[in-house]
Amino acid sequence: MLLKQRDNGSYNYLYEHYSGALYSIILQIVQNESAAGDVLQEVFVNIWKKIESYDETKGRLFTWMLNIARNAAIDMVRSKTYRNNHRSESLDSSADNLQSTQLEVDNIGLRKIVDKLKPEQRSLIELAYFKGYTHEEIAEIESIPLGTVKTRIRAALQQLRTFLK
């Protein structure tokens, strides 16, 4: 694969093709533009570093990059610095501004599809996919049995696929 050569041309290709889609998923998770920019940088650095370990038989390149982006974004949201910054920013910026950003990311990409789910399924996907909680953590948060969490998430995912088709 050409990308594994890691020259300037492959960086340009990668960035032109995928930065928008990756930035979008990052925004949907961190919901803050400056933090999303930092995450996007980290994501590209990671892609660049780990490109050797990408295995074509396990999935498409985009799927691989999407997962790197999702994980990095969730890590950012969970990091202490982000939480501190985000708190002070919410205090500083006007409520209007915050709301408009929020609305914008709620209407794009995967979130747009997830929004079509039934409320109880939507909240499970929100916790599992956008917040990165494990099934066990979700069972605790939602106070429902672990088995129920698994079946509901599976059902929600099956539903998602029909929406995507």
Partner: protein
């Protein structure tokens, strides 16, 4: 395994979206290796996911492209062929990664300098210590040599004493007391005269220190005339000094003469005298 059921179970979405557990992931990968229809279904879902993600892409702020390029290539500079750095790239405050690297380099350099300084100080300390020890060792060596020399001269002296003392102890040795004359009543000498070999030994019990250029001389009275019996070397500090061989004598006397002795004694400078 009913593959159609497996495909419909939600495992594909779970796997692709990164929500599957480790166990589920491994199982899915092994199923994919056996059932091409599962791979097909997986790719179909991936493509529809990619499609929706692409169609709703949000273009990141334009400045990010170069900023990220710097961060990316800063980590893999050797792979970049068509992009060259200017010095400013390294100090740009928008590059936390590079700044972090610089900081770590800087602290590594600082640590290295501190270590070097400490090492230099230690080296200097050890050099000084070593020099001190070498000096002390040299001094001790010199003292040791002196002690050996002293010991040797003491040994020689002791051997002389022992040899002389042997003579005195000899039963055939005749002791002649030479008391001080009236002008020098505190002076006292003893002559030991070997009756067999006729060797004469003089022991100084008490004699004043001679003036510079002067020396005590032993005389033997033979047939009423004084005969030179040898010069006394007071410097040698010997207890008993071997003098000349005197075959026969009636008396012995010690006078103070000029250095080297005189042919005839100065009777006014007599210190001790004793008859046999």
């Amino acid at each position: 395994m009913n593959i159609q059921e497996y495909i419909q179970s939600g495992i594909i979405e779970s796997y692709v979206l990164g929500l599957a557990s480790e166990e589920e992931r491994l199982e899915f990968e092994s199923v994919c290796a056996t059932y091409p229809e599962v791979v097909e279904a997986r790719e179909a879902f991936e493509l529809s996911l990619e499609h929706i993600a692409m169609s709703d892409a949000v273009t990141p702020p334009a400045y990010l492209k170069d900023k990220i390029r710097h961060a990316v290539t800063g980590e893999n500079g050797e792979h970049m062929t068509s992009y060259s750095y200017t010095e400013n790239d390294y100090v740009d405050e928008d590059q936390p990664l590079i700044i972090r690297k610089l900081f770590s380099l800087r602290s590594a350099a600082a640590a290295a300098i501190i270590l070097l300084g400490a090492s230099t100080l230690l080296n200097f300390y050890f050099y000084k210590e070593n020099k001190k020890l070498v000096n002390a060792f040299n001094e001790l060596s010199i003292q040791q040599t002196q002690l050996v020399n002293n010991n040797q001269s003491m040994q020689t002296k002791l051997q002389d004493y022992e040899a002389n003392f042997e003579h005195i102890r000899n039963p055939r040795m005749k002791a002649v007391k030479l008391p001080g004359v009236s002008s020098n009543p505190s002076s006292m000498c003893t002559v030991y005269w070997d009756t067999q070999t006729k060797d004469v030994y003089l022991m100084v019990n008490n004699l004043p220190k001679p003036a510079p250029g002067m020396q005590y001389q032993l005389w033997a009275m033979v047939d009423g005339k004084p005969v030179d019996a040898g010069m006394l070397d007071m410097d040698k500090d010997n207890m008993v000094v071997k003098m000349k061989n005197i075959p026969s004598a009636t008396a012995f006397a010690v006078t103070l003469e000029k250095q080297g002795g005189s042919p005839t004694p100065d009777m006014n400078a007599m210190y001790v005298m004793g008859t046999i």
